[in-house]
């Protein structure tokens, strides 16, 4: 390599970069990871706020929003979107659709895959940066543009998208159809924002996969990779292969909206405002659903797998034991990745598929629970016989296990198409997936944040604030989502904007079975709403902790404060440009804790083997 080749790379480390090159347009994976992380946390907070407003309408239907919630909106906005201060159905739907979209596409995926992945992966495989640093920066800015489009759509005359985060045609085709210039319609901007977000994820996936395949340090064979890296590898493949069909669906729906094509418009469609639609017809709304869920299902594994990755890193460090069942876990996660592509129509059991194909999807869906259970069980067994340090990251990681367990188990009834006939589109589904994502995935991410914060900043989080964040969060998460499972089984539908008050049986002696059932369980609504609002309050200690500890947190004593074994702890703190100050290699597995043949409590991956000791394991020459 010539010196000029190095100069091709803009980040010349011989002189200090200006602020905007160092923090805004950086190509360093660590800076980009933090950019993603901060942006994603802000979006998560925004999505949370949307849901808080929705929960008012559910708990206290017909009552205007309270002052403490509505002060953020302008009077003009409130006049347009609220009715005498009360949430209307249209506004509720808008908030609901954007809550889902923001949480999934702007919050969890960027936080898990892009933020954690970016910061940790190159460090854990022992290389200097991602394979394509400039592409990495472009990915972040595509995400930024997509996010801005989504946020900006709230301020349009049409409002933001309001047809569910799933955006099914034909409703999504025609919502905001009254806006003449479609590019100013929230639904269209949702689609354009998605195109940017998909581009960002695709470019990111290419970057991650190339890095993991081609840039591993010497001695870092596939089976010596930390589980985190395997997880990011699988997530990368899911994003790479599953997103393009959604891009196709978004493109087709965009064309339906702007040039009047009929990809998803069936013949003879009639709407109240326009009568028989003047479109050619001949299209298929089902086609949209297939294309959407072809992404949609792998997408939920994209949400989950990075969280399992974080937990799988935190647990061995704090039990001082290797991860139990590393190899089965690797095979399981590969199986989960592969199977996730062939289960998608379990979201579509009520679309009129015949028994044979429904059975296929039912079978694959039940099958995919097996590797997931293997993963969870291995993590649980990893605790057995460990010398457990219940520091704050470990609290989050251990709490992840039962929370994800509940989420996973409640998914099983939904896998069976017969049971799903009753549970589809009920609060049971909402309870199930929120259990997986909220107390599940988010707890995993908090574990990761608390675990890697010392490496990123060189300081520790405050422990008391950490506990003040954890315990109320755990309690309120359960108070919020468990009743949803109960209400769902009673038949409460999703997306009821007044919590179900319209379905209550009116008379005392009514024989309306459904109305009576709703009356039996509707009292849970205020309980859940208060749990949600208190859950929001419980995040305040985290924000305080974050801001406080970056400047005044207790400084770490050495570069490896947790006494961990994976390569990211071998760098200076915070890691400089180029990451490692020595020629790093991997000489053993990633979780060598409490080894019988080693004096110390742990044997880091990067420590060269002692010359006088016999070889630890025959180093196999990689044969490809």
């Amino acid at each position: 390599m010539s010196a000029e080749a190095a100069a091709e790379d803009h980040d010349d480390h011989h002189h200090e970069l200006p602020f905007w090159r160092k923090y805004i347009y950086s190509t360093d994976h660590k800076v980009i990871g933090i950019q993603y992380g901060v942006t994603a946390l802000l979006f998560l907070a925004f999505g949370f706020f949307l849901m808080m407003v929705m929960r008012w309408s559910i708990a206290y239907p017909e009552e205007p929003l309270p002052g403490w919630m509505s002060w953020v909106f302008s009077e003009e906005w409130k006049a347009r979107w609220l009715q005498d201060g009360r949430l209307t159905g249209e506004t509720y739907n808008m908030f609901g659709a954007m809550h889902g979209t923001i949480m999934v596409f702007l919050g969890i995926v960027p936080l898990g895959f892009a933020a954690f992945g970016n910061f940790v992966t190159p460090l854990q495989i022992g290389t200097v940066d991602m394979a394509f640093p400039k592409l990495n920066m472009v990915s972040y800015w595509c995400y930024g543009v997509g996010g801005l489009l989504m946020l900006g759509s709230f301020f349009m005359e049409s409002g933001a998208a309001k047809s569910g985060w799933t955006n099914y045609s034909p409703l999504a085709n025609f919502a905001d159809g009254q806006i003449i210039n479609q590019f100013l319609a929230g639904q269209t901007q949702w689609l354009l924002g998605m195109v940017f977000l998909i581009t960002s994820s695709l470019l990111g996936a290419i970057n991650f996969l190339t890095t993991i395949i081609n840039l591993r340090a010497k001695g870092m064979t596939w089976m010596r990779l930390p589980f985190f890296v395997w997880a990011i590898l699988v997530t990368g493949f899911l994003l790479l292969l599953a997103f393009p069909p959604l891009e196709v669906a978004a493109l087709m729906q965009l064309m339906d909206r702007t040039v009047g094509s009929s990809f998803f418009v069936p013949t003879g469609l009639y709407t109240k405002t326009a009568g028989v639609i003047e479109a050619s017809g001949g299209g298929s709304p089902l086609l949209y659903q297939h294309l959407f869920w072809f992404l949609g299902h792998p997408e939920v594994y994209v949400l989950l797998i990075p969280a399992i990755a974080c937990v799988a890193e935190v647990i061995p460090v704090n039990t001082r034991k290797p991860l139990w069942g590393y190899k089965p876990m690797v095979w399981s996660i590969l199986c989960v990745g592969f199977l996730s592509f062939v289960v998608w129509a379990h979201h579509m059991y009520l679309t009129g598929m015949g028994p044979v194909i429904s059975t296929w999807f039912q079978t694959t869906t039940v099958m995919i629970s097996v590797p997931s259970v293997i993963l969870l069980t291995s993590l649980i067994i990893s605790l057995w016989g460990g010398s457990i340090r219940f520091n704050v990251p470990m609290l989050w990681a251990v709490a992840f296990l039962p929370m994800f367990g509940i989420g996973g188990i409640t998914g099983l009834p939904l896998a069976f198409n017969l049971v799903d006939l009753h549970l589809h589109d009920t609060y049971y589904v909402i309870g199930h997936f929120h259990y997986v994502v909220a107390p599940g995935v988010l707890f995993g991410f908090f574990a990761g944040i608390y675990h890697w914060f010392p490496k990123i900043t060189g300081r520790h989080f405050d422990t008391f604030l950490g506990h003040l964040h954890f315990w109320p969060s755990l309690i309120f998460m359960n108070l919020l989502f468990f009743p949803m499972l109960v209400q769902g089984m009673a038949g409460f539908h999703r997306r009821w904007y007044n919590g179900g008050d319209a379905y209550l049986a009116k008379a005392e002696d009514s024989v309306n079975v459904f109305g009576n059932t709703v009356a039996e369980w509707i009292y849970l609504n205020p309980l859940m709403s208060w749990a949600a609002w208190l859950l929001a309050l419980s995040q305040v200690p985290f924000v305080i902790n974050l801001v406080f500890s970056i400047r005044w947190g207790k400084k770490i004593k050495n570069d490896n404060p947790w006494d961990a074994t994976t390569l990211e702890w071998a760098t200076p703190t915070p890691p400089p440009h180029g990451n490692f100050t020595f020629d790093v290699g991997a000489y053993r597995g990633p979780y060598e804790y409490s080894r019988d043949d080693h004096e110390g409590d742990f044997f880091p991956q990067w420590e060269e083997p002692r010359k006088d000791k016999p070889a630890e394991e025959p180093v196999k020459e990689p044969v490809k």
Binding site: I213, L241, L286, F294, F341, V342, V356
Partner: protein, 123 residues
């Protein structure tokens, strides 16, 4: 990947030959589709024409991939990536197709319904 001058020269000849073959195949595809004396199966477009057309296209694609894109010289990693990509595409198309061809049918069958088969309707 070829590195030596002789190898590159041989490769160039191979590229030219493959290019020519692709041209010929294109003409064949066009002829089969438009010339009446090459009309297989039913008069006009039918499954036989589709099979031949797509078959020739697949052959051409295979040649482009193997020779122009050097796939025949690559190591395993690339094949793994391609196989993963293509099998995902096939599972998308195949399974989606299966859902359409195995519908639940409610109500009365009448002429003009897809899959209307009077012999199979149970009274």
């Amino acid at each position: 990947m070829a590195d030596s001058p002789e190898a590159i020269q041989k490769a160039r000849n191979k590229y030219l030959l493959v290019g020519l073959v692709l041209f010929v195949f294109t003409v064949v595809t066009y002829a089969v589709a438009t010339q009446p004396w090459l009309d297989f199966g039913e008069h006009g477009f039918d499954a036989a024409d589709a099979t031949i057309g797509l078959g020739i296209a697949t052959l051409k694609a295979g040649l482009v991939a193997a020779i122009f894109m050097h796939l025949s010289n690559e190591k395993r990693t690339v094949y793994v990536l391609i196989v993963i990509g293509i099998s995902t595409a096939i599972s998308l198309m195949g399974l989606t197709g299966w859902t359409f061809t195995d519908p639940i049918k409610y109500g009365d069958w009448k002429k003009g319904d897809k899959f209307y088969n009077p012999e199979k309707v149970v009274e």
